[in-house]
């Protein structure tokens, strides 16, 4: 196997070295607290930059659900030094050079990224620094962009799984803002005022609430110097970031959601409350999710798909900053009743709780995770994206420590978390029922 080639550490005035783990070097911009992660790869011809803001739909409330995402769209409308009038939009300067340009929003974070032929990296750094504090947020842009976002919402509504998922989270969470999906409620998308979006920007878009990650082919010293120069012009946030202090009250019984729509798709989703990403139980829960439905040898695949009562099954162990959900999604085969599949799934959960999993199952799950861990470094975007999700949990070093923690998980640990979390009273069951055309 090829070994990872780790270059020496760059030293640049204005950026303090924090630590280095497995080829990822962390710095802190002295002027404003911006977190910097550099992962240079001397063999790569392509470089990637991602700015992750620690703000997401978790920081929204009634009336401005979807604000983080709508703001993300508006952040592409230009900034003081990069805009249509100056002939320098991100599309003109980077996409037309072949860059992969985009942004995404989720519960705990918002990210902006460019994967570029390496000679275009300096422009991407300058542009991201500019829009961190100098983005245009105009009412005319909100008016033109709102229908775009609404159509994105409408696209999602066409998908049975997305429609069911929204209801599941809305029912599982009653107080905590994971209650609403990142895209927000339709009426909020349509009516949130530009002033609220500006406030959101001013509340959260500051260097001390962000991480810039740069990976792939780049010169570490000149790149770090460019970050210090371009981002160093911004000060820290003038006031403390608004705290999100709402905690979800303890659930006291199974909850059930039903979505009925005309169509031929029938689905079930099973959600169980689990702790936040940095909890010690998470590694075992991740392995449990793989044992449940990763591949054709998994428990649920064999119990449902191999028996032709379902056409598809997947389980997601959502790793969020706050307590989250472990959800199994099942698409039913034609003419199979929801109740039949629900009974089968519950039986599988009971079996794991009572008998645990086998050593072979755990070994398979760990091999699968080894494949996933390797895939996280397969190309600049994969690495950026993986780092981004760990940053969102509050601790990027989890990128390095999680594989170590996964390796230590035993079959007893998996059974323990199954007993602890696959509890009916902590579950939310969702039916998507296709109604006759």
């Amino acid at each position: 196997m090829h070994s990872l080639d780790i270059p020496s550490l760059p030293v640049v005035t204005g950026a303090s070295f924090v630590r280095s783990l497995e080829g990822i070097h962390e710095y802190r911009l002295d002027a404003n607290g911006l977190q910097i992660l550099l992962a240079p790869d001397p063999n790569a011809l392509v470089a990637g930059i991602m700015v992750t803001y620690r703000v997401g739909s978790r920081n929204e409330a009634i009336g401005y659900t979807g604000a983080t995402h709508l703001l993300e769209h508006l952040m592409f409308k230009g900034s003081d030094n990069f805009n249509k009038e100056k002939g320098g939009t991100i599309w003109e300067l980077l996409e037309t050079k072949g860059a992969l340009v985009n942004a995404t929003t989720w519960n705990d974070r918002t990210n902006y990224f460019e994967v570029v032929p390496q000679e275009h990296l300096p422009v991407a750094i300058t542009l991201e620094a500019d829009r961190m504090r100098r983005a245009f947020l105009k009412e005319e842009d909100r008016l033109s962009e709102m229908p775009v976002v609404r159509n994105e919402f409408e696209r999602g509504e066409n998908l049975p799984m997305e429609a069911l998922d929204k209801q599941l989270w809305a029912l599982a969470y009653q107080a905590h803002p994971y209650h609403h999906s990142t895209i927000g409620w339709r009426s909020d998308i349509e009516q949130v005022p530009i002033a609220r979006l500006k406030k959101f920007y001013d509340d959260f878009y500051h260097p001390d609430n962000a991480t810039i990650s740069i990976v792939g082919g780049f010169d570490a010293v000149s790149t770090l110097a460019a970050i210090v120069k371009e981002f160093g012009v911004h000060g820290k946030a003038p006031v403390a970031f608004p705290a999100m202090y709402t905690e979800e009250p303890r659930q006291e019984g199974e909850r059930r959601a039903v979505v009925k729509r005309v169509g031929h798709t029938n689905m079930i989703a099973f959600a169980h409350k689990i702790p936040g990403a940095t909890d010690a139980d998470l590694p075992a829960l991740l392995l449990l999710s793989l044992i449940l439905s990763d591949g054709k040898t998994s428990r649920l695949y064999r119990a449902l798909v191999d028996r032709a009562i379902a056409t598809d099954v997947s389980t997601q162990c959502y790793q969020f900053r706050d307590p989250s959900l472990l959800i199994s999604y099942i698409t039913l085969a034609p003419r199979v009743k929801h109740e039949v599949v629900e009974k089968s799934i519950k039986q599988e959960f009971k079996k794991i709780i009572a008998q645990g999993v086998t050593a072979l199952e755990l070994t398979r799950a760990k091999r699968s995770l080894r494949a996933y861990i390797a895939s996280r470094r397969d190309g600049p975007y994969a690495l950026l994206s993986s780092l981004n999700e760990e940053i969102a949990t509050g601790d990027w070093t989890r990128f390095v420590t999680l594989p170590q923690a996964l390796a230590r998980v035993t079959v007893k640990d998996v059974q323990k978390v199954a007993k602890k979390y696959l509890v009916d009273d902590q579950s939310t069951v969702g039916y998507f029922i296709g109604m006759p055309v």
Binding site: D41, P117, N158, V262, H264, T363, G379
Partner: protein, 419 residues
């Protein structure tokens, strides 16, 4: 290696196959993309569901090994492997650790050579296939895409997709023997294999030869391509589905053009100029200026098997603004063709395609897919490195010639949603 971003080599395989190996800097990742001749377009219409069903069961048992033995052996090594079939090929796609490459290739070969299609599995896969078709009936995008091929192609053309009810009938009447007979005709014929990632070239080559030399010769040969005989006209088909918040729309026209046509690359560049990304004409107007859609794109489709393909625009619109949106879309297509073909726009798009090609090849999976496509389409390996130069060599005159191929005033339309 640093200056040679595509360190790929090609080796001939017994029986005329093509083996591509690229040892890259990827760590602990090996991707295998491959295919052999044998797919739905080689069978008459009522039987064209057989290759897809057979592919799903290639790892579901052989006379010597039960399904569980095969699948647990793969899972125990962390290997992912999937078979599929479309066009004139049966495909396999795998991912493994470096030490398991021989095992993965051996399993692929064994599956192609010996899959036995147990009766219970055949019953199961038919039920699942019917379920997936049922789901498709309320999928607006799938419905629109399927309808467009019906509008553009004659039923004998390989890009024509049969109505769901016809496919359902075919699935119901499929028997185990059909799958077994189909498997017998698969072999080394037309084998294309790409192995990319954390590997040593010599050992990967040896592993590939050892595994696939065991594969029978097969009896499939690539059929001559049937050119579309349907005369183009402006047709519209609306597929209403209740309870849908969004309408999927596809507009298109079949083209007398395959990837080997002299105007293929100009047509590709032209299509990208119109709708190949955020900076392209349609996104800048229909989305960015007018706010009518989350996404609109223009692509060339139906070309991956070497057939004559089609030009397609896909967009999504709110039901409330559907008529207005379609009208604007048609106007912008016309404006692009009449005013948008400029040297400046061409140069920008050429740089974008060349740059994004480099970006895309930075992953193991994309490099493997590119090599496999080169093999199946009959290009020389040099196409991998020459592609950006080919794109940059396209002239404005070429673009204008390509534009003549696209009947922009005769685009057919298929749309699905709640009208």
């Amino acid at each position: 290696m640093k200056n040679e971003h595509v360190p790929a080599q090609e080796f001939p395989m017994a029986g005329g196959g093509r083996l591509f190996i690229a040892s890259t800097y990827a760590h602990d990742v090996v991707v295998v993309e491959g295919s052999v001749l044998g797919g739905p377009t080689m069978l008459p219409a009522p039987l064209d569901v057989i290759p897809g069903l057979a592919a799903e069961l290639l790892d579901a048992g052989t006379p010597k090994k039960k399904k569980s033995v095969i699948r647990e052996a793969l899972a125990g090594r962390g290997i992912s492997l999937a078979f599929s079939s479309s066009g004139d090929r049966t495909f396999f796609s795998g991912r493994c650790f470096p030490e398991d490459l021989s095992f993965l290739l051996g399993t692929i070969s064994e599956s192609l050579n010996e899959a036995s299609f147990p009766e219970a599995e055949v019953k199961n896969i038919k039920a699942r296939a019917l379920g997936e078709l049922a789901e498709e009936k309320s999928d607006t995008r799938a419905q629109a895409e399927r309808a467009l091929t019906e509008l553009l192609y004659d039923p004998l053309h390989e890009n024509y997709v049969r109505p769901i009810k016809d496919q359902e009938k075919s699935i119901v009447t499929t028997r185990r023997l059909h799958l077994q007979n189909f498997r017998k005709i698969l072999g080394r014929g037309g084998l294309v294999l790409a192995i990319v990632g954390d590997i040593e070239t010599d050992s990967a080559r040896a592993a590939a030869e050892k595994a696939f030399n065991k594969l029978g010769e097969g009896t499939m040969s690539a059929p001559a391509k049937h050119m579309n005989k349907k005369i183009q006209s402006t047709e519209e088909k609306l597929i209403p589905i209740a309870d849908k918040a969004n309408i999927d729309v596809v507009l298109g026209a079949s083209l007398p053009l395959s990837v080997h046509h002299q105007l293929y690359h100009p047509t590709k560049v032209l299509t990208d100029m119109l709708g190949g990304g955020f900076s392209a004409h349609l996104m800048q107007t229909i989305r960015e200026r007018d706010g009518l859609t989350y996404g609109v794109s223009a692509t060339l489709a139906g070309l991956s098997t070497g057939a004559d393909g089609y030009f397609k625009i896909w967009a999504t619109f709110s039901p409330q603004r559907y008529e207005e949106s379609i009208a604007k879309l048609r106007i912008e297509v016309d404006i692009f063709f009449s005013r948008g073909l400029t040297e400046t726009a061409l140069t920008k798009r050429q740089e974008e395609i060349a740059g994004s090609y480099l970006v895309a090849l930075a992953t193991t999976a994309n490099l493997a897919a590119s090599l496999h496509a080169i093999g199946t389409l009959g290009f020389d390996l040099s196409y991998l490195t020459e592609y950006p130069n080919i794109i940059r060599a396209v002239s404005l005159e070429d673009i204008k010639s390509a534009a003549e191929l696209i009947p922009r005033h005769k685009l057919s339309l298929a749309a699905s949603g709640t009208f």
